[in-house]
């Protein structure tokens, strides 16, 4: 029961981060939001008894993917213009 409530809170946080990372104008903040979504998804994988995938998602989705995005933003521009 406690686990279900914790998972519900995590999923709510994940939705907020996803909406924020799509809607914000600052791309660096958007990338950090994506990283947060990835980390929460990795926790959900662990709760769903998939430790292999949780490790892969935490190391690749939240680590290397974020680094790749940040490098690309550094080489281009940071703010989204309309």
């Amino acid at each position: 029961m406690i686990l279900t409530i914790a998972v519900a809170i995590l999923i709510l946080m994940m939705m907020v981060f996803a909406v924020y990372s799509v809607e914000t104008k600052d791309l660096l903040y958007a990338v950090v939001g994506t990283m947060a979504v990835s980390l929460i998804v990795s926790i959900l994988f662990y709760v769903l008894q998939a430790p292999d995938v949780a490790m892969a998602e935490a190391a690749i989705g939240a680590g290397i993917s974020t680094a790749v995005f940040v490098i690309a933003i550094k080489k281009t521009e940071r703010y989204e213009h309309d």
């Binding site: 292999d52 490790m55 892969a56 190391a59 690749i60 680590g63 290397i64 680094a67 790749v68 490098i71």
Partner: protein, 233 residues
């Protein structure tokens, strides 16, 4: 504005369709009703392959050919990044950034870099016993190299050595498959004894292939990061 509202309505319909189709047809957490291929993997996996981690058994042994294809896709993607960013790099030997990292970060990176490499190696060597494996260990190794890049502005990987490592490791994977073809008649067939499940030296060819995959994934992800970092602004 009209475009946006139409898109929002379409997306809401999509969300409802996905969610209710799933909730009706495939109830969450239902007990296994289909006697599909998963049952064979679950009930015979340990006896067939000797690996107690069933995900490893599927990735490397049952579906080893898929994994060979996947490593090829990764290689093609790394090559593609290098090809797209070709002649945008800066000459070697120069600093990448103006400000250098501080003494604490440089000293810490010198201490922590071997530890991170060791942790990555631990993950992929124990891939058939504990959670983890070649892909995760390779990602950890790439993170270690990223840390080195961030902390030391003059650090460059030696491209020749990296390419050589990658080629040797990829050839190891293919050679193990061809040896299986020669000895037993099937590509990537397990020709080594299974041993007793739960020990480090067990599970036949799985540790060899997973070490190869780990080093290859680490080298390729490092190559991608290197190619993207060397581009001038």
């Amino acid at each position: 504005m009209i475009k946006k509202s139409i898109a929002l309505i379409l997306i809401a319909i999509l969300f409802v369709a996905i969610f209710f189709t799933l909730a009706n047809d495939l109830p969450f957490g239902d007990n296994r009703t289909t006697t599909g291929v998963s049952d064979k993997y679950i009930y015979h996996g340990v006896n067939d392959t000797g690996a107690s981690n069933l995900v490893t058994a599927i990735v490397v042994n049952y579906r080893g050919f898929d994994t060979l294809g996947e490593v090829t896709v990764l290689f093609v993607a790394a090559t593609g990044v290098g090809a797209v960013l070709y002649n945008m790099g800066r000459p070697a030997g120069k600093k990448r950034k103006k400000t250098e990292a501080s003494l604490i970060v440089r000293t810490g990176s010198r201490i922590l870099f071997p530890m991170m490499l060791l942790f990555g190696a631990y993950i992929f060597v124990h891939g058939h016993l504990t959670p983890g494996g070649g892909f995760q260990g390779g990602a950890v190794i790439a993170t270690a190299f990223l840390f080195k890049y961030v902390s030391d502005t003059r650090y460059h990987i030696d491209h020749n050595k990296f390419t050589a490592t990658e080629s040797v490791v990829g050839m190891t994977f293919a050679l193990v498959g061809i040896m299986g073809l020669l000895l037993t008649g099937y590509f990537l067939f397990n020709f080594l004894p299974n041993g007793s499940p739960g020990e480090l030296l067990s599970a036949g060819i799985i540790p060899i292939i997973y070490v190869a995959i780990g080093i290859k994934v680490g080298a390729e992800l490092t190559g991608i990061l290197d190619n993207m970092m060397e581009v001038e602004q």
